[in-house]
């Protein structure tokens, strides 16, 4: 635990010193990677841990984004009120909507959440386009901070806070129960624990993180539109980041988000952008089928190997 915390600090320090070395353009890529990491971690604490796959995370992120967007745009609410309210509303609304769904089995849970996402997309276009901006969405939203460097630090701070928080949670006994639900829900029940309570908790935490990510992301972009939010390709990007990085690890989704974002940037000169989703899918399918723990397992293997070499050195040295 202590050694891992040291790793968090080292990685955080390296990332924090980045603006010294890199250009503004590269920082923008890092900002996107940070947000993607938040979304992927939010997915991981629910779906990666309990095995209840959510296909509706864009729904949660979108609720937060739209809430704060509408508040600031139409009522002129200051950000320090609108953002916490959006996060709270995401938790409440998300829980109200998904709570009944948590009783049904994993495969159908995924379908219900997917249906929620699509329904919201359609409804946004029809119901009160004057408020939601209809198909075109809302633009000209206030920014939390301006400029690439402050935005980078903000996104990094949020990402690391969320990351460490979720990681500590996952290492705690609650995390163990959540993993147990994934393996055998009946066994958790017979151990005298109420699985629904734990699922609800995981869901609320996941919704909170999605709300945090969604509201910060919206005010980083300064605009929001239904097709950018409630879309299968957005869901796909989150899902692939979590799977490629390694689900059920919290750290994996961060690695996955960085890996995917940078892979795309490095390949941009060689292959056109339309190849992105194809490339992502192929990587995701291969990783998911042959190395379910993703990039995380590669890193872990590396650390173990280094650790063994060091211990062996101590023995013989």
């Amino acid at each position: 635990m202590k050694r891992s915390l040291i790793w968090w600090v080292i990685c955080g320090a390296v990332l924090a010193s980045l603006p010294i070395f890199t250009s503004t353009g590269t920082l923008r890529i890092f900002i996107f990677a940070n947000f993607l990491a938040i979304f992927a971690m939010s997915w991981d604490i629910l779906s990666g841990y309990t095995g209840y796959i959510s296909f509706g995370h864009p729904f949660l992120i979108g609720i937060a984004g739209y809430t704060t967007a509408i508040l600031t745009r139409h009522l002129g609410t200051p950000l320090y009120i609108s953002m916490p309210f959006a996060i709270l509303l995401t938790m409440v609304a998300g829980t109200l909507f998904f709570f009944p769904a948590l009783r049904i089995r994993g495969t159908y849970f995924a379908l219900v959440t997917l249906a929620f996402m699509e329904v919201t997309y359609h409804l946004l276009k029809i119901v009160k386009p004057a408020v939601t901006g209809g198909t075109r969405g809302l633009t000209g939203l206030p920014f939390v901070v301006t400029g690439a460097v402050p935005n980078y630090y903000l996104s990094l701070f949020v990402m690391l806070t969320v990351g460490i928080g979720l990681w500590v949670l996952a290492k705690s006994s609650i995390g163990t129960v959540l993993s147990a639900i994934r393996m055998d829900e009946g066994a958790v029940k017979s151990a005298g624990l109420n699985p629904t309570k734990f699922k609800l908790f995981a869901f609320t935490v996941s919704a909170m993180v999605a709300g945090i990510g969604g509201s910060f992301y919206t005010h980083y972009l300064g605009s929001i539109s239904p097709r950018a939010m409630f879309d299968i390709t957005f869901l796909f990007t989150i899902l692939v980041a979590a799977l490629v990085g390694g689900e059920h690890t919290i750290v994996g989704p961060i690695l996955g988000a960085y890996f995917l974002t940078f892979l795309l940037e490095y390949l941009r000169p060689y292959i056109p952008g339309a190849w992105r989703f194809l490339l992502y899918s192929v990587i995701a399918l291969v990783v998911y089928n042959f190395a379910p723990k993703g990039i995380y397992s590669i890193f872990q293997g590396l650390f173990d190997w280094v650790g063994r070499r060091m211990r062996r050195g101590e023995q013989y040295g």
Binding site: G51, I53, F55, P100, A101, R103, I104, R105, G106, T107, Y108, A110, L111, V112, A115, F116, E118, V119, H122, L123, K125, I126, I232, T233, F236, L239, V240, L243, A274, W275, R276, F277, L278, S281, V282, A284, L285, Y288, N289
Partner: protein
Amino acid sequence: MSGIIIQSIVISGFYALIAIGFTMIFSVGRVLNLAYGVYIMLGGYVYYTVVQLAHLPKTVGFLCAILSGVIFAVITYVGLVRRLQNNPIAVEISTLILAVAMQAVMILIFTPAPRSIWPLIPGVAHLFGVSVLKNLLVAMIISWVVLVSLLIFVRKTRVGRAIRAVSMDRKGALVSGIDPNRINLVTWGLSGALGSIAGVFFATYTQLDPAMWVGPLITAVAVVIVGGIGSIMGSLVAAHIIGFLETITTTLITPQLRGVFTLLLIIIILVILPKGLFGREEI
């Protein structure tokens, strides 16, 4: 009023065709194939390529569409699903990723721009004083021919009975000398064929675009969920319930509700009646 009824009957037959291929896979393999929409998209695009770009006869286009659906479905099963079939959630995730991959492939080949496709038979027919597109009418008639022959196939032939046996009890079927993997393969191929036939109709009914797989997939999911997961008769009834309710809401309230209605139905049924209206019965 009679307009709504005729429109509903026509659209329901077509929805039933969309849903049956999806149901059969679930029934036999107990997995939800989210790449099912891809067979529909593939059918539409292959038909378009053969008929409108290569100027070959429509029957050739139809056959090529079916062939592409079957081949792709069999590849999906052998290459991806067979290794994962004991883990329905892994199948669900993998097939969703596959569907997005195929969407990317279609964008790369055909560009993201929507393409309109000629109707199978142009013109408008008049039924009981209501004008219906002949194209939709033909789609409904062929849908019913396909559905009835499928029911006969499943009930009367040896392979069909084996499919039913596997869907009822996999182990029992294995004990009686049926190879569930082979039956799964047959079912996936059949499902690909049904999907691509539906795809040709769907494309002539709306238009071709690389995201067109989502709509029919949602319809298929809704039909299967309302009808009780894994039953052909239930799916037929459910397709009509959805077809009627959807036509009523879209004509009486606003056409924009088309997508919303089906989705709300999925949510409500799954949350309130997880077993569907008819429960599980034989396929």
